[in-house]
């Protein structure tokens, strides 16, 4: 009798045919896409040869004084763009995020605000930078405006979501004392979301710093312009110097971010 029950038990690991078919379809798609995009092994091998040559031309990195000065000027402008756009973006995100929070504000104001945030988020920073370059000309201002828009899209969205998750009891308690609207915000809402807001803000500064090295490619100021020019002039050893400088700057920024996070824990 016991042997019967053992035989009746189903196998522990059933084959999952839909999943297997999905994996097969994914593999088939990868081959199809590779053939469409002309991603072939020959080109890859050829590319590796070019790659070795390319790395050979990058070494050693350029350290000539005038070019170093040019690079430092570019890096300085990049920093300026990142600092100003983060400050502006954070300052603007506070009211926008607050007005987009559905648990505190009426629908007629949250919907336009949410639409604004979605609009800011939907395009890549570089594309926004293109439009601002057309609007305000070449230079740092276009980069600042583009990254401000991108910062609003990110911080205001997360800030609104953080506010929507707060406990309303404290808000109610402050309201019950007869506090005006601004006091409800500053004593009922802000203490609950401040630590997360600082997290978003430091993350956004880091992200702005990374992107402000890129907006120069379309003429919006910063080191990107110098870098793209070096690339187009086949000045690859200078390109390597600039890349190393950017990576060093980002690592310093990451260390700073960790320090700030520890400070507010």
């Amino acid at each position: 009798m016991t042997s019967n029950t053992i035989q009746a038990r189903p196998p522990a690991f059933l084959p999952n045919w839909p999943a297997r078919l999905a994996w097969l379809a994914l593999a088939a798609y990868a081959f199809y896409a590779a053939s469409i995009l002309d991603v072939t092994w020959d080109r890859f091998v050829l590319g590796l040869e070019h790659g070795v040559k390319f790395i050979g031309r990058m070494l050693p990195p350029e350290v000539e004084a005038s070019k170093m000065a040019l690079m430092l000027r570019g890096l300085y402008e990049t920093l300026e763009i990142a600092v100003i756009s983060s400050a502006l973006g954070i300052a603007l995100s506070l009211p926008i995020g607050l007005f987009a929070a559905r648990n505190l504000m009426p629908a007629w104001i949250t919907w336009p605000m949410r639409f604004l945030i979605a609009l800011c988020r939907s395009f890549h920073q570089v594309i926004i930078a293109i439009l601002f370059v057309k609007a305000v000309g070449f230079g740092a201002l276009a980069g600042i405006l583009a990254l401000t828009v991108a910062s609003i899209g990110f911080i205001a969205k997360l800030f609104a979501e953080a506010i929507e998750e707060i406990s309303l009891k404290q808000v109610e308690a402050i309201r019950a004392t007869g506090a005006p609207f601004m006091n409800v915000i500053s004593y009922g809402v802000m203490p609950q979301v401040l630590s997360r807001f600082i997290g978003f803000a430091t993350y956004q500064f880091d992200s702005n710093l990374r992107n402000s090295t890129m907006v120069g490619i379309v003429g919006a100021g910063g080191i990107g312009g110098t870098m793209f020019a070096a690339f187009q002039k086949f000045d690859y050893d200078y390109l390597l110097t600039i890349l190393l400088a950017i990576i060093a700057m980002i690592m310093v920024s990451e260390a700073l971010q960790n320090w700030i996070k520890k400070l507010y824990q």
Partner: protein, 267 residues
């Protein structure tokens, strides 16, 4: 004298913390003030901005819808292929790195450190810079874009996958080991079911980001719709640029809807 113990004032932060915060606030204000004073902005350009913006939108209107089948559709599909294939390649390359980075699977601090270094260097280079490098290596075209997306995504996927693996519970693994399962079975039946939801969430999230990023890679010659935008812009055909922006916007929205739908289905 004996009241000294009660008179002691309670302070929220230690002197060191207060000093660090003061340094931080001072540094922030200093950085903002110095940046605002030294940044090279031509004020006339700023006063001119609303007028220029209006001019830009006037040039963009009417949107050149008729150009879509001829010059945008193929580029848009290519962009999607670049994003998808790049993400798939990245996942294939990131899985071994994720396994190496997870301390419970690879109990060797040096290998962990090596894998994390690879992942960090992948992430600290922007996808546009990766695209520049691969354009120099493979020449302009979709291959450079695919590789750029792949190499930028490795760090992202590998880091999150490694973290998900580290959070896997050791119970099922021990049970499989006790039953004498071979190593492949331990991975496929012990670790994989635990990290599968995280894996799909990471893959879909990254694909969503890749779709956005692949739209701009063409600006440096790495294929996709960015190249079409670059051409149209250089020729001041703003009504075509407007069409491409609308196309990118729709694709990004559709990608987000698809990701939300699949997430609900399988996670």
């Amino acid at each position: 004298m004996t009241t000294a113990a009660i008179d002691r004032e309670w302070l929220r932060y230690t002197p060191g913390q207060r000093r660090a915060r003061f340094v931080l606030y001072f540094g922030l204000v200093f950085a903002i003030v110095v940046s605002l004073r030294t940044v090279q902005v031509i004020p006339e350009f700023l006063y001119d901005a609303p007028e220029q913006m209006a001019d830009l939108f006037k040039r963009m209107w009417p949107i050149a819808w008729s150009f879509y089948p001829k010059g945008v559709h193929d580029a848009l599909i290519e962009t999607l292929h670049i994003a998808t294939l790049g993400t798939i390649l990245a996942i294939i390359m990131a899985l071994p790195l994720g396994l190496l980075a997870a301390n419970n699977i690879t109990p060797n601090a040096w290998l962990n450190y090596f894998a994390r270094l690879m992942l960090v260097s992948s992430r600290s280079v922007n996808s546009l810079v990766w695209a520049l490098l691969f354009v120099a290596i493979f020449g302009p075209g979709a291959l450079a874009g695919t590789m750029a997306i792949a190499f930028r995504s490795i760090g992202f996927v590998g880091k999150l996958f490694g973290e998900a693996l580290e959070e896997a519970r050791p119970g099922p693994i021990e049970a499989l080991k006790a039953a004498g399962a071979p190593w492949l079975s331990i991975y496929v039946k012990g670790y994989w079911p635990q990290v599968e939801p995280a894996f799909w969430a990471i893959a879909l999230f990254r694909w969503d980001i890749s779709v956005r990023e692949s739209a701009v890679l063409g600006l440096v010659g790495a294929g996709g719709i960015g190249m079409a935008i670059d051409t149209a812009m250089n020729l001041f055909q703003w009504e075509r640029v407007a069409l491409m922006l609308v196309a990118i916007f729709s694709v990004v929205i559709v990608a987000e809807v698809v990701v939300t739908f699949i997430r609900k289905k399988i996670i």
